[in-house]
Amino acid sequence: MSQPFRITRCQLCDHAIFHPLPVCPRCGRRSWRSEVARHGTVEHATSRLDAQTGESVWLAEVRLDVGPLVTARCAPAVGAGERVCLALVPAGDTAFRLLASPQRGA
């Protein structure tokens, strides 16, 4: 089922990134820890038709509370400024999909 979404943070300069990288883009060193990122705010959203299924897929750029900007699947008609919770859900046998759901009580 769903798993917590984790970002990567440099243990030396504290810089946080979305996609894991071998070398910290800020300080150039290679000492990382992972950190759960649960909440964020939608900056932009759009929708497109999936070529395989013919269904409308909504996607958003979400600014995490802990810093990085991430690209995530989201619910239809999500708009800029909306608060969301993030989690990884299975997408196929081995892949995971980052899902941004409306934050309850927000």
Binding site: L59, E61, T71, A95
Partner: protein, 380 residues
């Protein structure tokens, strides 16, 4: 200033729906012969070759050299998509200046049917495969929707502003028998077009085609054939910001002073521009980074310079109307600039002396990481 000159250009006809007889190799061969014919050269005159292609695998540049019967002393293969054309031009110019080559055939092309495009889009790089494709968010349309929204917010522009570029370029395409879309397009039709990824509509996204492009670069001291344009300056920028910025400014903003200094001219001297137009927003960003938009007034540039004056921007119709043939998209604008400076552009011919060519490409995670620009000058 470089001593390299461009002595020919050619293109394999772009095809919206390639048949089974059309392969990446047949397209590259067609473009190679078109460029050699244009340069009035035979294959024995070529002693260097450069190639960019997403779909020639498992073959590489050396396989193509063999299959074309080219015996060369300098060879390169480039993987930089929309920035590949000018990257190959930059390397080729230095090779002929250094004496490592005399005449370089630069090639780019792809058979991009639906299957090839889907495969490329889903496995463009590791981040796309592991993070974007499972969303599913393969292909660049969604990411450039976000980028266009950021650009709209920053500059206060609306869809009909960006539409000026698509509409004006279609006007040029109507004069180019090689463009895949040549029917007239009004701003009203643009505004009514089906959405692809709002705010991007059908006319903001390049039609995927199959095709190939080629140019021949030669040493200025050893010119045979038909010299038509000198390479005055080329600058490039790769991974300027680790994908941690907003994508609204490319590495060309920092490289622009060096470009104009080396070219010995200014933005106002440019008579014609071929700017990588995967999306209209990128045309604006790249031109603004290079100081080509007076006072940074984007709205005035769009409505007056492009909309009313029809300033010569992407006179082939650009990729938006002529089509994007995979890696050939990185060479298409250079071929058009050379065609214009050689007075071979037919009904769309512009009396240009200086041409600007701009490349952009390779979305790593959120926006393109490669950008380059060249200034060419007509040889009288």
């Amino acid at each position: 200033m470089s001593s390299a000159v461009l002595i020919g250009a050619g293109e394999a006809r772009y095809r919206r729906h390639p048949g089974p007889e059309t392969t990446t190799e047949t397209l590259l061969v067609e473009a190679a012969h078109a460029a050699l014919d244009d340069a009035q050269l035979e294959r024995k005159d070529i002693d260097a070759m450069a190639l960019s292609s997403f779909t020639l695998a498992p073959d590489h540049a050396i396989d193509l050299a063999w299959r074309l019967g080219l015996n060369v002393r300098w060879l390169m293969e480039d993987t930089n998509g929309g920035a590949s054309g000018l990257n190959m031009l930059q390397h080729a110019a230095r090779a002929v200046e250094a004496g490592d080559a005399t005449r370089v055939l630069i090639l780019a092309g792809d058979r991009m049917g639906a299957t090839e495009f889907a495969r490329l889009a889903a496995s463009y790089n590791v981040v796309t495969r592991d993070y974007l494709a499972p969303l599913p968010c393969e292909g660049p349309n969604t990411l450039f929707s976000f980028l266009t929204q950021r650009h709209m917010d920053l500059y206060g522009l609306a869809r009909e502003d960006y539409g000026q570029i698509a509409v004006a370029q279609r006007g040029w395409a109507m004069l180019n028998p090689r463009a895949v879309y040549r029917a007239s397009l009004s701003i009203e039709e643009y505004m009514r077009a089906p959405m692809v990824a709002p705010p991007l509509c059908r006319y903001d996204c390049v039609p995927v085609v199959s095709g190939a492009d080629a140019v021949v670069v030669a040493s200025g001291d050893a010119v045979s054939g038909r010299p038509c344009a000198s390479v005055r300056a080329i600058v490039a920028s790769y991974n300027p910001d680790n994908q941690e910025s907003d994508g609204l400014r490319t590495g060309l903003a920092d490289a622009a002073p060096a470009l104009w200094r080396a070219a010995g001219c200014e933005p106002k001297d440019i008579d014609l521009a071929s700017v990588y137009d995967d999306y209209p927003v990128m045309v604006l960003i790249l031109l603004n980074d290079l100081g080509m938009i007076r006072d940074g007034d984007l709205s005035r540039f769009l409505h007056h310079r492009i909309g009313t004056e029809r300033w010569p921007l992407n006179t082939s119709g650009g990729m938006l109307s002529a089509g994007q043939a995979g890696a050939a998209g990185g060479l298409h604008g250079l071929v058009e600039a050379v065609t214009q400076l050689c007075d071979s552009a037919g009904a769309r011919q512009i009396p240009a002396r200086h041409a600007l060519v701009v490349g952009y490409g390779m979305v790593l995670a959120r926006y393109g990481a490669c950008a380059n620009a060249a200034v060419l000058e007509r040889i009288a």
